[in-house]
Symmetry: C2
Amino acid sequence: MPPYLPPEAHRPLTLRDVSEASGVSEMTVSRVLRNRADVSPATRERVIAAAKMLGYVPNKIAGALASQRVNLVGVVIPSLSNMVFPEVLGGISAALEDSGLQPVFGATDYKADREENVLYEMLSWRPSGMIVAGLEHTDVARAMLANAGIPIVEIMDIDGEPVDSMVGISHKRAGREMAETILNAGYRKIGFLGSKMPDDHRARKRLEGFSEALQAAGLELAEVEHYAGGSSLAKGREMTASILSRRPDLDFLYYSNDMIGAGGLLYCLDKGLDVPGKIGLAGFNGLELLDGFRLRLATTDACRREIGLRAAEIVAGKNSDGVIGSKHIELSPIVNRGDTIR
Amino acid sequence: MPPYLPPEAHRPLTLRDVSEASGVSEMTVSRVLRNRADVSPATRERVIAAAKMLGYVPNKIAGALASQRVNLVGVVIPSLSNMVFPEVLGGISAALEDSGLQPVFGATDYKADREENVLYEMLSWRPSGMIVAGLEHTDVARAMLANAGIPIVEIMDIDGEPVDSMVGISHKRAGREMAETILNAGYRKIGFLGSKMPDDHRARKRLEGFSEALQAAGLELAEVEHYAGGSSLAKGREMTASILSRRPDLDFLYYSNDMIGAGGLLYCLDKGLDVPGKIGLAGFNGLELLDGFRLRLATTDACRREIGLRAAEIVAGKNSDGVIGSKHIELSPIVNRGDTIR
DNA sequence: CTGAAAGCGCTAACAA
DNA sequence: TTGTTAGCGCTTTCAG
């Protein structure tokens, strides 16, 4: 309930100002402003009128210190510009909608030391919970999280040991299942295109699962193409041109994400290659972007929105069952063959 | 400087704990932790060692209340999933990097009442400054901003009256300049494809400028196609199919953003239409995405990153000139003809 | 260079 | 239903 046209205040107003303007004690004003039931309607109205007239905005800093409660949930992700994360954030926001909690976002740029810093900053505001992407953190970061005394939910990935709760998919399994799909379709000379490994643990795990499945079938990756920096259609084109010039005999290209995969698809279509007959393609994530192309790129849906929803529910304490304590939730990545696997 | 392996604390630690562990007064501990110079090296080391050992994380709530200073800058934008905003946020983060200030993001979903709420929530944390997308707000929202007693920077748009400072481009001018470019290229039967107007003031202003320039040339829009909801390639395709089925004679399509424009471009290419000979296309924003297509979509660069940079500099007080007070900064949108205007 | 005292603006807990 | 009294954990100010 935001206030109304304020007059000419330049020192931030306090409860005391509202108290004086309404002739009611600070304590009662405080009660009204927090929507507590134990105030008479008459008093309530007078207070609300005074607060609106003055344009009073409560000071949550003082409130939080006094009550030892903060309605903030820290959310730490690698990047805001990677199209993968907005959907997770959307899920979080939706689930927190009427819990009284508010998400606060921070980005790490895929750097462990930046993550440590972001966590430190956030925890110093004493949030009610934290949602953190990934299971890999520095020891210091893990220790901070473990000792914060609040619910911690690590998301996106479940291949590892969480500090507290986790919600995500197994990226090893996602890689494995895509490999099996590809092999079943009869492709045999398979190339992989992805980011430099150390940065992105989830892409690394997908590749591990993928490779294991190939080995189980007596195969291995025929060629690998790495890149650094952000993903883009242009990068996908470029990498695809490069790997195919070295190995024109490849019959499948597995990309570490949909953006570069879509770039590769555009390249193949422009070159008139026979997709999926002569060459198949697959990405990862299930990006909405893919719906716009003539052929739909095969991909794995990473359940991003649901991950956000479930994580936020844990933080908000909306556990359908009555169990207290940490939850480990594995969602199932879904392979979508699209039009680029025959 | 995050702490180190903590032991078994479950009640959040206070300065007092560090004070006792190090045998130094709380006051001196506080000085060390704030990196103040007036502490002897010996004392400093003891304090830091104790803090690390305990895994102490300062309580910024108490600190902010006592010092009346908060190192937060509120940033309010319509949407995190619209690819337009990450770049603005990147600029803001970069400019704030070593200012000691930290951005906090909030999204409004293009709704005035949600904006009012987000502003109210943010202001109640008494941030050091606010950066808000757009110039259109409810009266209540304007009043809150005006009375917060902190730097307010409205960004993206400069066609209107700011509460305090503003940094952006003129969308009317952007629309006008694109129209002139299109007319100079000889196109005459021009269609517009964009979102429902009331939601998006900047798209509306672009259309106004665009229409004015057409009128100045004795023309008007031949056809308009509206949509609701988010932008996507698929939506762009669909809208393009629809408008062209009604008006196959159109020779130019102006899209309100690059995402639907790119979808339209894909549609035209797939249909084998002669772009830019028989039909020209243009979007708006200068999205990196466009670099991946066979033909590069014409667009207008909205200077998003620089807007973020400049806005953050104003909030951080890094005004190159010595002037205090509000700044009005107009950046120049740059038309990029790409390959889709002949 | 270090310490002691006095709040910051609000709310929990109790009293009236 | 309303008011009073103590702090919340830190920093400011001022003394030593």
